[in-house]
Protein backbone atom coordinates (compact mmCIF):
# COMPACT_ATOMS: atom_id res chain seq x y z
CA UNK A 1 0.00 0.00 0.00
CA UNK A 2 1.32 3.36 -0.95
CA UNK A 3 0.82 5.69 2.01
CA UNK A 4 2.05 8.71 0.11
CA UNK A 5 -0.72 8.33 -2.47
CA UNK A 6 -3.27 7.79 0.28
CA UNK A 7 -2.25 11.01 2.03
CA UNK A 8 -2.26 12.89 -1.27
CA UNK A 9 -5.77 11.56 -1.94
CA UNK A 10 -6.89 12.68 1.51
CA UNK A 11 -5.57 16.22 1.11
CA UNK A 12 -7.00 16.53 -2.40
CA UNK A 13 -10.45 15.26 -1.47
CA UNK A 14 -10.66 17.29 1.72
CA UNK A 15 -9.61 20.52 0.01
CA UNK A 16 -12.00 19.88 -2.85
CA UNK A 17 -14.96 19.39 -0.51
CA UNK A 18 -13.93 22.35 1.63
CA UNK A 19 -13.54 24.74 -1.27
CA UNK A 20 -16.37 23.77 -3.56
CA UNK A 21 -19.21 22.96 -1.16
CA UNK A 22 -20.40 26.60 -0.59
CA UNK A 23 -20.88 26.92 -4.35
CA UNK A 24 -23.85 24.58 -4.36
CA UNK A 25 -25.61 26.38 -1.50
CA UNK A 26 -25.66 29.56 -3.64
CA UNK A 27 -26.53 27.60 -6.77
CA UNK A 28 -29.63 26.07 -5.19
CA UNK A 29 -30.64 29.53 -3.97
CA UNK A 30 -30.26 30.91 -7.50
CA UNK A 31 -32.37 28.10 -8.96
CA UNK A 32 -35.07 28.69 -6.38
CA UNK A 33 -34.99 32.44 -7.03
CA UNK A 34 -35.36 31.93 -10.76
CA UNK A 35 -38.30 29.62 -10.14
CA UNK A 36 -39.94 32.54 -8.32
CA UNK A 37 -38.92 35.02 -11.07
CA UNK A 38 -36.31 36.69 -8.87
CA UNK A 39 -32.66 37.14 -9.72
CA UNK A 40 -31.17 35.55 -6.65
CA UNK A 41 -27.75 36.04 -5.07
CA UNK A 42 -24.52 35.98 -7.08
CA UNK A 43 -22.88 32.58 -7.45
CA UNK A 44 -20.10 33.37 -5.00
CA UNK A 45 -22.36 34.90 -2.33
CA UNK A 46 -21.89 32.06 0.16
CA UNK A 47 -18.11 32.48 -0.03
CA UNK A 48 -18.31 36.19 0.73
CA UNK A 49 -20.73 35.49 3.59
CA UNK A 50 -18.26 33.03 5.04
CA UNK A 51 -15.34 35.47 4.68
CA UNK A 52 -17.37 38.23 6.29
CA UNK A 53 -18.28 35.98 9.22
CA UNK A 54 -14.67 34.83 9.63
CA UNK A 55 -13.59 38.45 10.09
CA UNK A 56 -16.19 39.16 12.78
CA UNK A 57 -15.71 38.55 16.48
CA UNK A 58 -17.49 35.72 18.26
CA UNK A 59 -20.01 36.59 20.97
CA UNK A 60 -21.02 34.06 23.58
CA UNK A 61 -24.08 34.20 25.76
CA UNK A 62 -23.21 34.52 29.45
CA UNK A 63 -25.37 31.43 30.08
CA UNK A 64 -23.51 29.24 27.65
CA UNK A 65 -20.96 26.61 28.64
CA UNK A 66 -18.00 24.96 26.92
CA UNK A 67 -20.39 23.09 24.61
CA UNK A 68 -21.11 26.29 22.74
CA UNK A 69 -17.39 26.85 22.18
CA UNK A 70 -16.57 23.30 21.19
CA UNK A 71 -19.54 22.58 18.89
CA UNK A 72 -18.32 24.43 15.75
CA UNK A 73 -14.93 22.72 16.06
CA UNK A 74 -16.51 19.28 16.55
CA UNK A 75 -18.78 19.91 13.58
CA UNK A 76 -16.07 20.99 11.19
CA UNK A 77 -13.72 18.25 12.42
CA UNK A 78 -16.34 15.53 11.99
CA UNK A 79 -17.19 16.75 8.51
CA UNK A 80 -13.52 17.05 7.50
CA UNK A 81 -12.94 13.45 8.56
CA UNK A 82 -16.14 12.39 6.83
CA UNK A 83 -14.95 14.09 3.65
CA UNK A 84 -12.10 11.57 3.52
CA UNK A 85 -14.68 8.80 3.22
CA UNK A 86 -16.41 9.90 0.05
CA UNK A 87 -14.01 10.03 -2.90
CA UNK A 88 -15.28 12.70 -5.26
CA UNK A 89 -12.40 12.88 -7.74
CA UNK A 90 -10.09 9.89 -7.33
CA UNK A 91 -10.88 6.50 -5.86
CA UNK A 92 -7.99 5.55 -3.56
CA UNK A 93 -6.25 2.19 -3.56
CA UNK A 94 -8.18 -0.54 -1.72
CA UNK A 95 -7.51 -0.06 1.96
CA UNK A 96 -9.25 -0.53 5.28
CA UNK A 97 -8.15 2.87 6.54
CA UNK A 98 -10.89 4.98 5.00
CA UNK A 99 -14.40 4.53 3.77
CA UNK A 100 -16.37 2.54 6.32
CA UNK A 101 -19.97 3.55 5.72
CA UNK A 102 -21.10 3.01 9.31
CA UNK A 103 -18.36 5.28 10.64
CA UNK A 104 -19.35 7.84 8.02
CA UNK A 105 -22.93 7.85 9.29
CA UNK A 106 -21.75 8.07 12.91
CA UNK A 107 -19.58 11.08 12.09
CA UNK A 108 -22.58 12.85 10.60
CA UNK A 109 -24.64 11.88 13.65
CA UNK A 110 -21.92 13.18 16.00
CA UNK A 111 -21.98 16.56 14.30
CA UNK A 112 -25.75 16.64 14.51
CA UNK A 113 -25.70 15.64 18.19
CA UNK A 114 -23.36 18.47 19.15
CA UNK A 115 -25.38 20.93 17.08
CA UNK A 116 -28.54 19.95 18.99
CA UNK A 117 -26.68 20.26 22.32
CA UNK A 118 -25.45 23.74 21.44
CA UNK A 119 -29.00 24.74 20.55
CA UNK A 120 -30.02 23.84 24.10
CA UNK A 121 -26.87 25.25 25.68
CA UNK A 122 -27.51 28.98 25.35
CA UNK A 123 -30.85 28.61 27.08
CA UNK A 124 -32.79 30.57 24.47
CA UNK A 125 -36.29 29.37 23.64
CA UNK A 126 -35.66 29.21 19.91
CA UNK A 127 -32.58 27.04 20.25
CA UNK A 128 -34.34 24.55 22.47
CA UNK A 129 -37.27 24.40 20.10
CA UNK A 130 -34.99 23.83 17.13
CA UNK A 131 -33.08 21.10 18.95
CA UNK A 132 -36.20 19.27 20.01
CA UNK A 133 -37.58 19.41 16.47
CA UNK A 134 -34.29 18.26 14.99
CA UNK A 135 -34.08 15.35 17.40
CA UNK A 136 -37.71 14.38 16.74
CA UNK A 137 -37.00 14.30 13.01
CA UNK A 138 -33.68 12.52 13.56
CA UNK A 139 -35.42 9.82 15.57
CA UNK A 140 -37.55 9.16 12.51
CA UNK A 141 -34.96 9.53 9.77
CA UNK A 142 -31.86 7.91 11.32
CA UNK A 143 -33.22 4.33 11.23
CA UNK A 144 -34.32 4.95 7.67
CA UNK A 145 -30.85 6.24 6.75
CA UNK A 146 -29.44 3.04 8.25
CA UNK A 147 -31.79 0.91 6.13
CA UNK A 148 -30.99 2.94 3.00
CA UNK A 149 -27.25 2.52 3.48
CA UNK A 150 -27.70 -1.14 4.40
CA UNK A 151 -29.51 -1.58 1.07
CA UNK A 152 -26.62 0.22 -0.60
CA UNK A 153 -24.17 -2.12 1.12
CA UNK A 154 -26.17 -5.16 0.00
CA UNK A 155 -26.35 -3.89 -3.57
CA UNK A 156 -22.58 -3.50 -3.82
CA UNK A 157 -21.67 -6.30 -1.43
CA UNK A 158 -19.35 -4.06 0.60
CA UNK A 159 -19.55 -1.55 3.43
CA UNK A 160 -16.65 0.47 2.12
CA UNK A 161 -17.70 3.61 0.25
CA UNK A 162 -14.71 3.75 -2.18
CA UNK A 163 -15.32 0.07 -2.99
CA UNK A 164 -18.96 0.89 -3.74
CA UNK A 165 -17.90 3.57 -6.19
CA UNK A 166 -15.39 1.18 -7.70
CA UNK A 167 -18.19 -1.38 -8.11
CA UNK A 168 -20.46 1.21 -9.70
CA UNK A 169 -17.68 2.20 -12.06
CA UNK A 170 -16.93 -1.40 -13.00
CA UNK A 171 -20.50 -2.54 -13.61
CA UNK A 172 -21.38 -3.33 -17.20
CA UNK A 173 -24.99 -2.38 -16.74
CA UNK A 174 -26.06 1.02 -17.97
CA UNK A 175 -27.92 1.76 -14.74
CA UNK A 176 -28.62 -0.97 -12.24
CA UNK A 177 -32.39 -0.82 -11.56
CA UNK A 178 -31.83 -1.44 -7.86
CA UNK A 179 -29.61 1.64 -7.75
CA UNK A 180 -32.50 3.77 -9.00
CA UNK A 181 -34.57 2.71 -5.99
CA UNK A 182 -31.72 3.52 -3.61
CA UNK A 183 -31.06 6.81 -5.37
CA UNK A 184 -34.61 8.02 -4.78
CA UNK A 185 -34.17 7.11 -1.11
CA UNK A 186 -30.82 8.92 -0.91
CA UNK A 187 -32.39 11.95 -2.58
CA UNK A 188 -34.96 12.07 0.22
CA UNK A 189 -32.15 11.67 2.77
CA UNK A 190 -30.31 14.64 1.18
CA UNK A 191 -33.46 16.76 1.41
CA UNK A 192 -33.89 15.89 5.08
CA UNK A 193 -30.25 16.14 6.12
CA UNK A 194 -29.53 19.43 4.41
CA UNK A 195 -32.73 20.94 5.90
CA UNK A 196 -34.58 21.63 2.67
CA UNK A 197 -38.13 22.57 1.94
CA UNK A 198 -40.64 19.84 2.64
CA UNK A 199 -38.85 19.28 5.96
CA UNK A 200 -37.31 22.60 6.91
CA UNK A 201 -37.01 26.00 5.29
CA UNK A 202 -33.42 27.23 4.98
CA UNK A 203 -34.50 30.68 3.81
CA UNK A 204 -36.40 32.08 6.74
CA UNK A 205 -36.00 32.78 10.40
CA UNK A 206 -39.70 32.30 10.95
CA UNK A 207 -40.52 30.65 14.23
CA UNK A 208 -43.00 28.20 12.74
CA UNK A 209 -40.72 26.71 10.14
CA UNK A 210 -37.15 26.78 11.28
CA UNK A 211 -35.33 23.74 12.60
CA UNK A 212 -31.72 23.90 11.51
CA UNK A 213 -31.57 27.70 11.58
CA UNK A 214 -32.99 27.77 15.11
CA UNK A 215 -30.19 25.57 16.41
CA UNK A 216 -27.42 27.80 15.06
CA UNK A 217 -29.20 31.03 15.98
CA UNK A 218 -26.93 31.60 18.98
CA UNK A 219 -23.75 31.07 17.02
CA UNK A 220 -21.91 34.11 15.77
CA UNK A 221 -18.78 35.22 13.95
CA UNK A 222 -16.19 32.58 13.18
CA UNK A 223 -18.22 29.86 14.87
CA UNK A 224 -21.22 30.57 12.67
CA UNK A 225 -18.97 30.44 9.61
CA UNK A 226 -17.72 27.00 10.69
CA UNK A 227 -21.28 25.77 11.28
CA UNK A 228 -22.47 26.96 7.86
CA UNK A 229 -19.42 25.56 6.14
CA UNK A 230 -19.94 22.19 7.78
CA UNK A 231 -23.58 22.01 6.73
CA UNK A 232 -22.55 22.88 3.16
CA UNK A 233 -19.93 20.11 3.31
CA UNK A 234 -22.48 17.62 4.61
CA UNK A 235 -24.77 18.43 1.71
CA UNK A 236 -21.98 18.04 -0.84
CA UNK A 237 -20.84 14.71 0.65
CA UNK A 238 -24.34 13.22 0.48
CA UNK A 239 -24.73 14.59 -3.04
CA UNK A 240 -21.40 12.97 -3.87
CA UNK A 241 -22.62 9.57 -2.67
CA UNK A 242 -25.73 9.86 -4.83
CA UNK A 243 -23.84 11.07 -7.91
CA UNK A 244 -21.08 8.51 -7.72
CA UNK A 245 -23.33 5.48 -7.34
CA UNK A 246 -25.80 6.56 -10.01
CA UNK A 247 -23.53 8.17 -12.61
CA UNK A 248 -19.94 7.25 -11.75
CA UNK A 249 -18.65 8.12 -15.24
CA UNK A 250 -15.61 10.35 -15.14
CA UNK A 251 -14.50 9.18 -11.72
CA UNK A 252 -10.90 8.05 -12.03
CA UNK A 253 -8.79 5.44 -10.30
CA UNK A 254 -5.29 6.54 -11.27
CA UNK A 255 -3.60 9.44 -9.56
CA UNK A 256 -2.55 11.55 -12.54
CA UNK A 257 -3.17 15.21 -13.30
CA UNK A 258 -5.08 14.85 -16.63
CA UNK A 259 -7.51 12.23 -15.32
CA UNK A 260 -8.07 14.25 -12.15
CA UNK A 261 -8.89 17.31 -14.24
CA UNK A 262 -11.40 15.33 -16.30
CA UNK A 263 -12.86 13.91 -13.11
CA UNK A 264 -13.09 17.41 -11.63
CA UNK A 265 -15.01 18.72 -14.64
CA UNK A 266 -17.31 15.70 -14.74
CA UNK A 267 -18.10 15.88 -11.04
CA UNK A 268 -18.82 19.62 -11.07
CA UNK A 269 -21.09 19.17 -14.08
CA UNK A 270 -23.01 16.33 -12.46
CA UNK A 271 -23.26 18.14 -9.13
CA UNK A 272 -24.58 21.27 -10.85
CA UNK A 273 -27.30 19.17 -12.51
CA UNK A 274 -28.19 17.57 -9.17
CA UNK A 275 -28.25 20.98 -7.45
CA UNK A 276 -30.62 22.29 -10.11
CA UNK A 277 -32.85 19.25 -9.58
CA UNK A 278 -32.82 19.84 -5.81
CA UNK A 279 -33.68 23.51 -6.33
CA UNK A 280 -36.56 22.68 -8.67
CA UNK A 281 -37.84 19.99 -6.27
CA UNK A 282 -37.74 22.52 -3.45
CA UNK A 283 -39.62 25.10 -5.50
CA UNK A 284 -42.24 22.59 -6.55
CA UNK A 285 -43.43 21.66 -3.09
CA UNK A 286 -44.53 23.50 0.00
CA UNK A 287 -43.18 23.11 3.51
CA UNK A 288 -45.24 20.29 4.96
CA UNK A 289 -46.45 20.00 8.51
CA UNK A 290 -44.32 18.11 10.98
CA UNK A 291 -46.91 15.34 11.20
CA UNK A 292 -46.87 14.81 7.44
CA UNK A 293 -43.11 14.22 7.28
CA UNK A 294 -43.25 10.49 8.12
CA UNK A 295 -45.04 10.07 4.80
CA UNK A 296 -41.96 11.31 2.96
CA UNK A 297 -39.70 9.14 5.06
CA UNK A 298 -41.93 6.12 4.52
CA UNK A 299 -41.32 6.30 0.77
CA UNK A 300 -37.56 6.18 1.38
CA UNK A 301 -38.06 3.24 3.74
CA UNK A 302 -40.34 1.44 1.28
CA UNK A 303 -37.92 1.77 -1.62
CA UNK A 304 -34.89 0.68 0.38
CA UNK A 305 -36.69 -2.33 1.85
CA UNK A 306 -37.82 -3.33 -1.65
CA UNK A 307 -34.15 -3.10 -2.63
CA UNK A 308 -33.24 -5.36 0.26
CA UNK A 309 -35.93 -7.86 -0.75
CA UNK A 310 -34.68 -7.91 -4.34
CA UNK A 311 -31.03 -8.18 -3.30
CA UNK A 312 -31.52 -10.82 -0.62
CA UNK A 313 -34.01 -13.12 -2.30
CA UNK A 314 -33.12 -12.76 -5.95
Amino acid sequence: MNYFLLIAYGILNMLFVLLISPLFISLIKIVKAHAQKRRGPPLLQTYSNLFKLLKKETVYSSNSSWIMRVTPLVNIAALLVASLFVPLLVIPQPTDLVGNIILFLYLLALAKFFMALSGLDAGSTFGGMGSSREMAISALIEPIIMVVFAALAFAFKTINIPDMFRGALASNVLINPVIILISISIFIVIIVESARVPVDNPETHLELTMIHEAMILEQSGKNLALMELSSAMKQLLLMGVLINILFPWGLTQDFAVPSILISFGAFVLKAVVLAVIIGLFESSCAKSRLFRLPGLFAIALFLSIVTLIIEVFA
Binding site: N172, N176, L181, V306
Partner: protein
Amino acid sequence: MIIAPLENFAEILIVLVLTTAAIIIMKRDIRSLIKTYALQSLLLAGMALLFFVETGIITLLFLAIIILVSKVWVIPHFMGLVQKKLNIKRDIQFHFLSPITALLASIVIILFVYLSFSNLLPELNRFNSSLFFLGATVGMSIVFMGMIVIFTRKQTLTNIVGYLTMENGVVLFSLFLTELPLLVEFLIVIDLIMLTLIATILAFGIDSTIEEFHTRLNPFASPPKDAPQKNSEDDKQ
Protein backbone atom coordinates in the same frame (compact mmCIF):
# COMPACT_ATOMS: atom_id res chain seq x y z
CA MET B 1 -23.18 -9.90 -14.76
CA ILE B 2 -23.72 -8.53 -18.23
CA ILE B 3 -27.23 -7.53 -19.11
CA ALA B 4 -28.31 -6.51 -22.58
CA PRO B 5 -29.30 -2.83 -22.63
CA LEU B 6 -32.91 -3.63 -23.56
CA GLU B 7 -33.32 -5.90 -20.59
CA ASN B 8 -31.73 -3.28 -18.39
CA PHE B 9 -34.20 -0.68 -19.66
CA ALA B 10 -37.06 -3.08 -18.94
CA GLU B 11 -35.83 -3.56 -15.37
CA ILE B 12 -35.56 0.19 -14.88
CA LEU B 13 -39.13 0.60 -16.15
CA ILE B 14 -40.40 -2.10 -13.77
CA VAL B 15 -38.73 -0.39 -10.84
CA LEU B 16 -40.20 2.97 -11.83
CA VAL B 17 -43.68 1.45 -12.15
CA LEU B 18 -43.33 0.15 -8.60
CA THR B 19 -42.29 3.63 -7.45
CA THR B 20 -45.35 5.20 -9.05
CA ALA B 21 -47.54 2.63 -7.28
CA ALA B 22 -45.97 3.67 -3.96
CA ILE B 23 -46.64 7.32 -4.80
CA ILE B 24 -50.27 6.50 -5.61
CA ILE B 25 -50.65 4.96 -2.16
CA MET B 26 -49.13 8.04 -0.46
CA LYS B 27 -50.62 10.94 -2.45
CA ARG B 28 -53.63 12.87 -1.19
CA ASP B 29 -53.94 15.36 -4.02
CA ILE B 30 -56.38 13.93 -6.56
CA ARG B 31 -54.98 15.74 -9.58
CA SER B 32 -51.48 14.47 -8.95
CA LEU B 33 -52.94 10.99 -8.33
CA ILE B 34 -54.41 11.07 -11.82
CA LYS B 35 -51.15 12.38 -13.27
CA THR B 36 -49.17 9.64 -11.50
CA TYR B 37 -51.55 7.07 -12.95
CA ALA B 38 -50.99 8.50 -16.44
CA LEU B 39 -47.23 8.32 -15.87
CA GLN B 40 -47.50 4.71 -14.73
CA SER B 41 -49.45 3.83 -17.87
CA LEU B 42 -46.85 5.63 -19.99
CA LEU B 43 -44.13 3.49 -18.42
CA LEU B 44 -46.17 0.37 -19.20
CA ALA B 45 -46.62 1.49 -22.80
CA GLY B 46 -42.86 2.03 -22.98
CA MET B 47 -42.32 -1.49 -21.69
CA ALA B 48 -44.69 -3.00 -24.29
CA LEU B 49 -42.89 -1.05 -26.99
CA LEU B 50 -39.54 -2.30 -25.68
CA PHE B 51 -40.75 -5.90 -25.87
CA PHE B 52 -41.99 -5.28 -29.39
CA VAL B 53 -38.53 -4.05 -30.37
CA GLU B 54 -36.94 -7.09 -28.73
CA THR B 55 -39.28 -9.84 -29.94
CA GLY B 56 -40.94 -8.36 -33.01
CA ILE B 57 -44.40 -9.60 -32.02
CA ILE B 58 -46.81 -7.13 -33.62
CA THR B 59 -49.40 -7.66 -30.89
CA LEU B 60 -47.17 -5.86 -28.41
CA LEU B 61 -47.03 -2.80 -30.66
CA PHE B 62 -50.82 -2.67 -30.75
CA LEU B 63 -50.92 -3.14 -26.99
CA ALA B 64 -48.55 -0.18 -26.57
CA ILE B 65 -50.74 1.97 -28.81
CA ILE B 66 -53.91 0.95 -26.97
CA ILE B 67 -52.33 1.75 -23.60
CA LEU B 68 -51.05 5.07 -24.91
CA VAL B 69 -54.41 6.17 -26.27
CA SER B 70 -56.72 4.86 -23.57
CA LYS B 71 -54.76 4.98 -20.35
CA VAL B 72 -52.35 7.83 -20.90
CA TRP B 73 -54.79 10.14 -22.66
CA VAL B 74 -58.52 9.26 -22.55
CA ILE B 75 -59.02 7.97 -19.02
CA PRO B 76 -56.86 10.58 -17.18
CA HIS B 77 -58.39 13.36 -19.30
CA PHE B 78 -61.90 12.21 -18.47
CA MET B 79 -61.09 11.83 -14.79
CA GLY B 80 -59.57 15.29 -14.78
CA LEU B 81 -62.86 16.67 -16.14
CA VAL B 82 -64.84 14.87 -13.46
CA GLN B 83 -62.46 16.11 -10.77
CA LYS B 84 -62.97 19.70 -11.96
CA LYS B 85 -66.76 19.33 -11.93
CA LEU B 86 -66.86 17.65 -8.55
CA ASN B 87 -64.43 20.29 -7.25
CA ILE B 88 -62.70 17.93 -4.85
CA LYS B 89 -59.00 18.59 -4.59
CA ARG B 90 -57.82 16.26 -1.89
CA ASP B 91 -58.66 12.92 -0.38
CA ILE B 92 -57.74 13.21 3.26
CA GLN B 93 -59.94 10.59 4.85
CA PHE B 94 -58.95 6.99 5.20
CA HIS B 95 -60.53 3.73 6.23
CA PHE B 96 -58.65 1.08 8.23
CA LEU B 97 -55.11 2.10 7.24
CA SER B 98 -53.36 5.44 6.98
CA PRO B 99 -51.12 5.89 3.91
CA ILE B 100 -47.98 5.06 5.89
CA THR B 101 -49.38 1.82 7.28
CA ALA B 102 -50.68 1.04 3.81
CA LEU B 103 -47.16 1.47 2.45
CA LEU B 104 -45.72 -0.74 5.18
CA ALA B 105 -48.43 -3.31 4.45
CA SER B 106 -47.44 -3.27 0.80
CA ILE B 107 -43.84 -4.08 1.81
CA VAL B 108 -45.25 -7.22 3.46
CA ILE B 109 -47.29 -7.93 0.34
CA ILE B 110 -44.26 -7.65 -1.93
CA LEU B 111 -42.31 -9.98 0.34
CA PHE B 112 -45.21 -12.43 0.33
CA VAL B 113 -45.57 -12.36 -3.44
CA TYR B 114 -41.81 -12.71 -3.86
CA LEU B 115 -41.63 -15.72 -1.58
CA SER B 116 -44.65 -17.45 -3.10
CA PHE B 117 -43.36 -16.90 -6.62
CA SER B 118 -39.95 -18.24 -5.73
CA ASN B 119 -41.69 -21.42 -4.61
CA LEU B 120 -43.29 -21.63 -8.04
CA LEU B 121 -39.94 -21.06 -9.67
CA PRO B 122 -39.20 -24.66 -10.76
CA GLU B 123 -42.71 -25.12 -12.16
CA LEU B 124 -42.49 -22.36 -14.71
CA ASN B 125 -39.73 -22.27 -17.27
CA ARG B 126 -40.28 -18.61 -18.02
CA PHE B 127 -38.83 -17.78 -14.63
CA ASN B 128 -35.35 -18.67 -15.83
CA SER B 129 -34.64 -15.03 -16.39
CA SER B 130 -34.49 -12.78 -13.37
CA LEU B 131 -36.17 -10.07 -15.44
CA PHE B 132 -39.36 -12.09 -15.84
CA PHE B 133 -39.36 -12.98 -12.18
CA LEU B 134 -39.02 -9.33 -11.19
CA GLY B 135 -41.72 -8.24 -13.63
CA ALA B 136 -44.21 -10.88 -12.55
CA THR B 137 -43.60 -10.14 -8.87
CA VAL B 138 -43.96 -6.39 -9.27
CA GLY B 139 -47.07 -6.85 -11.43
CA MET B 140 -48.77 -9.04 -8.84
CA SER B 141 -47.72 -6.70 -6.00
CA ILE B 142 -49.19 -3.72 -7.84
CA VAL B 143 -52.50 -5.57 -8.15
CA PHE B 144 -52.56 -5.90 -4.36
CA MET B 145 -51.39 -2.32 -3.84
CA GLY B 146 -54.27 -1.10 -6.01
CA MET B 147 -56.58 -3.16 -3.85
CA ILE B 148 -55.20 -1.44 -0.76
CA VAL B 149 -55.91 1.94 -2.37
CA ILE B 150 -59.49 0.85 -3.09
CA PHE B 151 -60.32 -0.20 0.42
CA THR B 152 -58.43 2.46 2.38
CA ARG B 153 -59.57 5.61 0.56
CA LYS B 154 -62.92 7.29 0.98
CA GLN B 155 -63.22 9.40 -2.16
CA THR B 156 -64.75 7.60 -5.10
CA LEU B 157 -62.28 9.17 -7.53
CA THR B 158 -59.36 7.71 -5.59
CA ASN B 159 -61.07 4.34 -5.57
CA ILE B 160 -61.25 4.52 -9.35
CA VAL B 161 -57.51 5.28 -9.48
CA GLY B 162 -56.94 2.25 -7.26
CA TYR B 163 -58.99 0.09 -9.62
CA LEU B 164 -57.03 1.37 -12.60
CA THR B 165 -53.76 0.67 -10.80
CA MET B 166 -54.90 -2.92 -10.23
CA GLU B 167 -55.60 -3.21 -13.94
CA ASN B 168 -52.13 -1.86 -14.74
CA GLY B 169 -50.72 -4.56 -12.47
CA VAL B 170 -52.60 -7.20 -14.43
CA VAL B 171 -51.21 -5.82 -17.70
CA LEU B 172 -47.67 -5.86 -16.29
CA PHE B 173 -48.13 -9.39 -14.98
CA SER B 174 -49.51 -10.60 -18.30
CA LEU B 175 -46.70 -8.91 -20.21
CA PHE B 176 -44.20 -10.99 -18.33
CA LEU B 177 -45.90 -14.22 -17.51
CA THR B 178 -48.61 -15.09 -19.97
CA GLU B 179 -49.19 -13.96 -23.51
CA LEU B 180 -52.76 -12.84 -23.61
CA PRO B 181 -54.09 -12.57 -27.14
CA LEU B 182 -54.64 -8.99 -28.25
CA LEU B 183 -58.39 -9.47 -28.36
CA VAL B 184 -58.55 -10.20 -24.65
CA GLU B 185 -56.35 -7.22 -23.85
CA PHE B 186 -58.51 -5.05 -26.05
CA LEU B 187 -61.67 -6.26 -24.34
CA ILE B 188 -60.11 -5.55 -20.95
CA VAL B 189 -59.36 -1.99 -22.02
CA ILE B 190 -62.89 -1.43 -23.39
CA ASP B 191 -64.22 -2.93 -20.18
CA LEU B 192 -62.03 -0.54 -18.28
CA ILE B 193 -63.19 2.54 -20.16
CA MET B 194 -66.82 1.55 -19.67
CA LEU B 195 -66.21 0.92 -16.00
CA THR B 196 -64.48 4.24 -15.57
CA LEU B 197 -67.36 5.98 -17.31
CA ILE B 198 -69.97 4.25 -15.20
CA ALA B 199 -68.00 4.78 -12.00
CA THR B 200 -67.45 8.47 -12.67
CA ILE B 201 -71.11 9.01 -13.60
CA LEU B 202 -71.92 7.27 -10.36
CA ALA B 203 -69.43 9.61 -8.68
CA PHE B 204 -71.46 12.59 -9.90
CA GLY B 205 -74.54 11.03 -8.35
CA ILE B 206 -72.94 10.20 -5.06
CA ASP B 207 -71.00 13.46 -4.69
CA SER B 208 -67.68 12.44 -3.32
CA THR B 209 -68.04 9.59 -0.86
CA ILE B 210 -70.46 6.77 -0.39
CA GLU B 211 -71.27 8.00 3.12
CA GLU B 212 -72.50 11.34 1.81
CA PHE B 213 -74.69 9.60 -0.69
CA HIS B 214 -76.20 7.64 2.14
CA THR B 215 -77.13 10.77 4.09
CA ARG B 216 -78.73 12.25 1.01
CA LEU B 217 -80.75 9.10 0.54
CA ASN B 218 -82.10 9.39 4.07
CA PRO B 219 -82.87 13.08 4.52
CA PHE B 220 -84.79 12.54 7.76
CA ALA B 221 -82.22 10.34 9.42
CA SER B 222 -80.09 11.96 12.09
CA PRO B 223 -76.68 13.01 10.73
CA PRO B 224 -73.83 10.69 11.67
CA LYS B 225 -71.43 11.66 14.40
CA ASP B 226 -68.52 12.82 12.29
CA ALA B 227 -70.73 15.23 10.31
CA PRO B 228 -69.74 14.43 6.69
CA GLN B 229 -71.03 17.80 5.45
CA LYS B 230 -68.37 19.56 7.49
CA ASN B 231 -65.68 17.21 6.26
CA SER B 232 -66.47 17.98 2.65
CA GLU B 233 -66.04 21.66 3.45
CA ASP B 234 -62.61 20.82 4.77
CA ASP B 235 -61.80 19.05 1.54
CA LYS B 236 -62.56 22.10 -0.52
CA GLN B 237 -60.31 24.41 1.43
